[in-house]
């Protein structure tokens, strides 16, 4: 059997197809320090300038062997453009931009400026996506997928109006919560469309703050917003929510996302599979702290194989990578996939 390109594998897996072997793309990526050193692309620059951003994004494949590239990584891109105060520490070359202050005093103040996509680091993300696209087309015949990541509506909403206010509105003032989510999802769509235009292949929406909602709250408030986003954006789409997602999982198949990147520290794959069946492609979930950061190469291979055996469809870290996770542990995930396939007679 001939193998497909990693991009084709990812897209078909998200479409629910059986490709006959384990797909090689590892889609949820954030850079580690070893990669920054080897590429000479450090934070904060790599979060604000196209060239270092593109170099570091390509490192996922070129240094990590992940058969996939994902950008951007900072969770602050949207909130900074919307007016939140965000700081970067000059002496911290591995630290993410830090949220400092919310942008709006009240939910009803939230508005999208006309030129929103020209603000903050949006232009750098678009330019970096273009550069990555060119490099992948040139060097890999376009066969490595580019994942375009954006923050989900509940997470952005929580930062721009204040996380306590946003959560409390869910119960005390649902209209305010819905207003913010509506505005933010307009931005999600504009931003997602633009990243796809610039060369992104697959969308990843990361919405960690949604974990705090009960199933009922998720279904009532957030489900329609997710649907609005997935209806508007073309192609295959994945959603990542970390933590204990068992209670919102039953609603995920209705969201219009094709894949769910789950966090094995908060929910078991067996439990998830029972709830979502084969209606969602499950993506995950190698523990970031106990294995990728603190474990050995062998530990990572073992837990990766265990994940595949237990039925994950696509291998990925359970959450963002701790920046000091060693490169050999990052590579070990890709090694585990190669090993798995070759033991079953599949070689690239």
């Amino acid at each position: 059997m001939k193998m497909l390109s990693p991009k084709e594998e990812l897209i078909r897996m998200l479409g629910g197809e059986n490709i006959g072997y384990f797909p090689r793309s590892i889609p949820v990526f954030t850079p580690v320090v070893d990669m920054m050193e080897k590429t000479g692309s450090f934070f904060p620059k790599a979060n604000y300038e196209a060239e270092p951003m593109a170099k570091l994004a390509l490192a996922a494949h070129e240094l990590g062997g992940w058969n996939c590239v994902m950008l951007p990584w900072a969770s602050t891109v949207e909130m900074e453009a919307l007016g939140c105060e965000v700081v970067n520490r000059d002496n911290d070359r591995a630290g993410y931009p830090q949220f400092k202050k919310k942008a709006f005093a009240d939910a009803y103040d939230v508005r999208l400026p006309q030129d929103i996509l020209g603000r903050g680091s949006f232009p750098a993300v678009f330019e970096a996506t273009k550069l990555v696209r060119q490099s992948i087309d040139r060097n890999y015949d376009g066969g490595i997928p580019i994942v375009s990541m954006f923050q989900g509506p509940f997470t952005i909403a929580s930062y721009i109006i204040g996380v306590n206010d946003m959560y409390k509105h869910v119960i005390r003032d649902e209209k305010r919560a819905a207003h913010v989510l509506d505005k933010v999802s307009d931005l999600n769509i504009l931003y997602g469309e633009r990243m796809l235009e610039k060369g992104g292949d697959v969308i990843l929406m990361s919405d960690p703050a949604a974990e705090g909602l009960t199933g009922e709250q998720f279904s009532k408030l957030l489900l329609p917003v997710y649907r609005k986003i997935t209806d508007a954006l073309k192609g295959k789409k994945m959603v990542h929510i970390c933590g204990r997602t068992a209670r919102i999982a039953p609603h995920l198949p209705e969201t219009g996302f094709h894949g769910f990147s789950f966090d094995s520290s908060g929910v078991d794959i067996e439990q998830l599979r029972e709830v979502v069946g084969n209606s969602l492609t499950l993506i995950g979930s190698v523990p970031t702290v106990t294995h990728l950061l603190e474990g050995s190469k062998e530990d990572v291979i073992e837990v990766s194989e265990d994940m595949i055996r237990r039925g994950t469809d696509i291998l990925s870290p359970s959450c963002g990578l701790p920046q000091f996770a060693p490169l050999e542990n990052i590579r070990a995930m890709a090694d585990a996939i190669t090993k798995w396939n070759s033991e079953r007679g599949m070689n690239a």
């Binding site: 954030t30 409390k168 119960i171 920046q323």
Partner: protein, 234 residues
């Protein structure tokens, strides 16, 4: 609401039967306070605390057997995933409001054991919700808590240890990308203040990680955190 005041009026006499009734009523009031916290009934928690004071309930009992009891139930509902963060935040507001009412009634000198906890979310992490609940429960549990807030640099913990002194430094982080800050804080503060004990918690922290970083205490949730803190001080 059942008319508690009329029951209290009945209690003013001293026959044995009525004393039993008074005790039942006290229990009932405490249960209602706990229930107000669970149902995040911010509107009525003041009145219930006032009822407790009128019924002669010890204000410390009202805090521990009423408010804190309720918050413990809230923690259980959160762990079992019946409650989400919206509920927990509103329950904590209700508890806070009750505390504000009851605190002036607590005779000074008896409300704390004197142990001082310095708490904060580590540098680079701005998550506050879990840390605030732990702070609240530690206060309810009788600790003197100094909250340095979120995104707290090791130097700020050092300053607080130097100027105010601390028995426990409690650190929180939610993100895997800021675990390193937790380690740096423990290294630096522990280096200068070897007698300080550390507690660590938050979504990205495991018991093993906490131990490896040098934290003697680790807790999964706020109720546990109070037990762990008491254990460290005993």
């Amino acid at each position: 609401m059942i008319d508690i005041r009329s029951r209290i009026a009945i209690m003013q006499t001293t026959s044995f039967g009525e004393l039993v009734m008074a005790r039942d009523t006290q229990k009932e009031i405490l249960e209602r306070i706990a229930e107000a916290v669970v149902q995040f009934d911010e509107e009525h928690v003041d009145a219930l605390c006032a009822d407790a004071m009128e019924a002669g309930i010890d204000p410390n009992d009202a805090i521990l057997l009423g408010l804190a009891q309720g918050m413990q139930k809230v923690g259980e509902l959160y762990d079992s995933q019946e409650y989400g963060i919206p509920e927990v935040l509103l329950c904590a507001d209700t508890l806070n409001r009750g505390m504000d009412y009851l605190k002036p009634h607590v005779p000074s000198g008896v409300q704390t054991q004197g142990f001082r906890v310095i708490i904060g979310t580590v540098e680079g992490d701005i998550h506050s919700i879990g840390k605030n609940i732990v702070k609240l429960m530690l206060e309810v549990g009788g600790f003197k808590v100094v909250d340095l807030g979120e995104d707290v640099a090791p130097a700020q913990f050092l300053t607080e240890c130097r100027e105010g002194g601390g028995d426990i430094v409690a650190l929180s982080t939610m993100m895997t990308t800021t675990l390193q800050s937790m380690k740096q804080t423990i290294d630096q503060v522990g280096g200068d203040f070897p007698s300080v004990l550390f507690m660590a918690g938050g979504a990205s922290v495991t018991e093993e990680t906490a131990q490896k970083f040098g934290a003697r205490g680790y807790a999964e949730n706020a109720t546990e955190a109070v037990k762990v803190a008491k254990g460290l001080m005993s």
